[in-house]
């Protein structure tokens, strides 16, 4: 990559915008995963009683089991959301930036 292309990209407002919005999405989703997972972990430590309650009066299935499976499911959904946004929003901007810089 030449200096010229680098400086063109560096000064392209679209590039700065891309970096900003991608970082926002990345760190927001990462924070969500951490809140979910460490929330679950801390509930195990502090409020096991809530997790061991059955989901319904006549059921043996505890709330914690649904939450654990929920964290697994939510992880898959969040990765899906990131991939969707990256494919549909970020990739076209990257292509624009690259083609503008190589003009």
């Amino acid at each position: 990559m030449s200096e010229l292309i680098a400086s063109k990209i560096q000064n392209n407002p679209k590039y700065l915008q891309l970096v900003r919005s991608r970082n926002t999405l990345s760190w927001t989703l990462s924070a969500l995963v951490c809140i979910m997972y460490f929330g679950f972990t801390l509930m195990i430590a502090f409020t096991p009683d809530i997790l061991t309650q059955p989901i319904a009066a006549d059921s043996v299935i505890p709330v914690g089991m649904l939450m654990g499976v929920g964290v697994i499911f939510a992880s898959c959904v969040l990765t899906g959301i990131y991939v969707y946004v990256a494919n549909h929003t970020f990739d076209p901007i990257v292509n624009e930036i690259v083609s503008e810089a190589s003009k």
């Binding site: 989703l29 460490f38 801390l42 997790l51």
Partner: protein, 558 residues
């Protein structure tokens, strides 16, 4: 203290300990189904290795499968690289013994994947060539940074290999008592040397893809078998398990292992270790260099996460299924008047016997062969990652300072594969009777405290300098090892030196912040000219990381 034992005990299951393997009766009939299916798997993988060998010519072919792997293929290979026999048999066994407690580990290992995707997968693909050290040393000094990163990788790889080798020996010996522990390990060592030296990353990838398909297929069939037996009702599955299990309703209350109390610090540290350790395993990070571009890298994590998440839910059903179908069954239980849970052949057998309860000898043979294939796939990936750290980082870039030819580098790689393969076999012999319960703690702690934070800092923080990366990295390596040695598993259980000086099994909650602080201070106080250049080079690195301009080209679709 009780919690510590709990986590240590759980961790030991994942360190591939197949207890009491040696006690399996010698007069047991030969398990023909397992052997035939295993031989079929070996034959297919050797054909693939031959095919891959004819197409492996350049260094990029050898290390990165020519960067021609698609997102879906890499997602399968990631799952194949990551789902170990220990997690298949181990999580099912934890659920079998303790109820839904095993879920905590599954969740911890899974949540590492979204983090890999959001923060590092694409940037890794855009910046690196063959190893994650390429990325860390992108704008820093090659020699010291690569040496540190390679040491971190090799410690993780070698200890992980010991766990796998011991697990392989005990598993195969338990399933086919006619083959001894040592013979089993030699078979594994020999096969992976053939796969990796001849077929490189292409063969490794396809072994992992086939293994993932077999493991997911086998586990799905088992789960369907369980659910069919229970009339496809989860409510019935769980109430039957509660009725049969000697701990009854407690198995549905076991958010921590029955009788233990969770300690918040311990839980957070375990969580951090599982999550960030996954994101710092060198053999996992290496998979991102095999895909065509950052878009494929991204997709591969999505597929991988879904496969692995699905697999963990299956192991959960399998564990509960084993309570219903295996426990209290005189065919599988060692001494039914003493305990209806303790199985012949050791603690990790519930999933294996469940396959027999569902599909007889044929299905048992299939699952046994799958478990063994699983070990082969994981060991291949580990060996290739270790060899690339030795050849690409240490030999080509530190010793030869980039002047080695591609041919020389690949030759050194192949020799390293043979060396690591032989080393794994010898260590497998040496550790046969050792307590290896600390292995998960050791490998995941170093990955979580060294590889992941240094990688993340180099990509996200302009201020990181060579001095910061190196001092921070060694702090992670030696800090983790030091605290593990004075921790409960090694200090108290193995060395028998009395109460542990550091009372936690996973030192991540201390070492990780320490690494970040040390790397920060060592970087900001670095006023040298080279440090200023390294900071200035961040902009160019970031452009490449974000746009992929200048990234290693992927193969054209073939």
């Amino acid at each position: 203290m009780k919690t510590l034992k709990t986590f240590a005990g759980a961790a030991s299951l994942f360190a591939s300990r197949f207890a009491f393997a040696a006690d399996a009766p010698a007069e047991q009939p030969l398990n023909w189904h397992a052997i035939v299916m295993f031989l079929i798997f070996v034959a297919i993988t050797l054909i693939i290795t031959y095919w891959a060998a004819t197409r492996t010519k350049t260094a990029s072919d050898f290390y990165a499968a020519g960067r021609g792997i698609t997102g879906l293929q890499n997602g399968m290979a990631i799952a194949g690289d990551f789902m170990s026999a220990a997690s298949f048999l181990g999580i099912a066994a934890l659920v079998y013994m303790n109820g839904f407690y095993g879920l905590i580990f599954s969740v911890g290992w899974l949540v590492g994947w979204p983090i890999i995707l959001f923060l590092i997968a694409e940037r890794l693909r855009n910046l690196g060539k063959y190893t994650y050290a390429d990325v860390v040393s992108f704008r820093l000094q090659q020699g010291p940074v690569r040496t540190m990163a390679a040491i971190g990788s090799l410690i993780v790889v070698i200890w992980y290999l010991i766990g796998q080798a011991v697990g392989a020996g005990q598993l195969l010996h338990t399933l086919v008592p006619q083959i001894s522990y040592r013979e089993s390990i030699v078979v594994v060592g020999g096969l992976i040397i053939i796969y990796v030296t001849f077929g490189g990353m292409k063969a490794t990838t396809w072994v992992q893809i086939i293994k993932a398909a077999l493991l997911l297929g086998g586990a799905t069939l088992m789960a369907i078998g369980v659910m069919a037996h229970e009339g496809f009702s989860f409510a019935k599955l769980f109430s039957d398990a509660v009725a049969i299990h000697p701990k009854h309703m407690d198995i549905m209350k076991s958010v921590v292992k029955i009788g233990a109390k969770a300690n918040p610090l311990e839980s957070i540290s375990l969580g951090l270790t599982l999550m960030l350790g996954t994101a710092g395993l060198p053999h996992i990070l290496m998979r991102f260099f095999t895909v065509t571009d950052s878009k494929a890298a991204r997709k591969s994590v999505l597929y991988g996460t879904c496969f692995i998440g699905f697999f963990y839910i299956l192991t959960f059903i399998i564990g509960f299924g084993a309570i219903v179908l295996v426990a209290n069954n005189p065919e599988y239980v060692a001494n039914i008047s003493k305990s209806i849970l303790d199985l012949k052949g050791g603690a990790n057998m519930p999933a294996v016997y469940l396959s027999h309860a569902i599909g007889g000898d044929l299905f048992l043979g299939f699952i046994a062969a799958v478990a063994f294939a699983t070990i082969l796939a994981v060991v291949s990936g580990l060996t290739l990652a270790g060899a690339s750290a030795l050849s690409h980082d240490i030999y080509a870039n530190v010793i030869m300072k980039g002047r080695a030819s591609e041919k020389q580098e690949v030759w050194v790689s192949k020799m390293s594969v043979i060396g690591l393969g032989v080393l794994a076999v010898l260590l497998g012999f040496a550790f046969e009777k050792q307590n290896i319960a600390y292995i998960v703690g050791l490998t995941f702690s170093i990955a979580a405290c060294t590889n992941f934070p240094i990688l993340a800092l180099s990509v996200f923080w302009r201020g990181l300098t060579t001095r910061g990366a190196v001092i921070g990295g060694y702090t992670g390596i030696f800090g983790s090892i030091g605290l593990l040695i004075v921790g409960p598993t090694i200090w108290t259980s193995i060395l028998k030196m009395g109460p542990a000086i550091f009372p936690y099994d996973f030192p991540t909650f201390v070492v990780l912040p320490l690494v970040l602080i040390v790397a920060y201070i060592a970087s900001v106080t670095d006023k040298s000219e080279s440090a200023a250049k390294e900071r200035a080079a961040f902009d160019a690195q970031m452009i490449r990381a974000e746009t992929g301009l200048g990234a290693e080209a992927g193969a054209v679709a073939h």
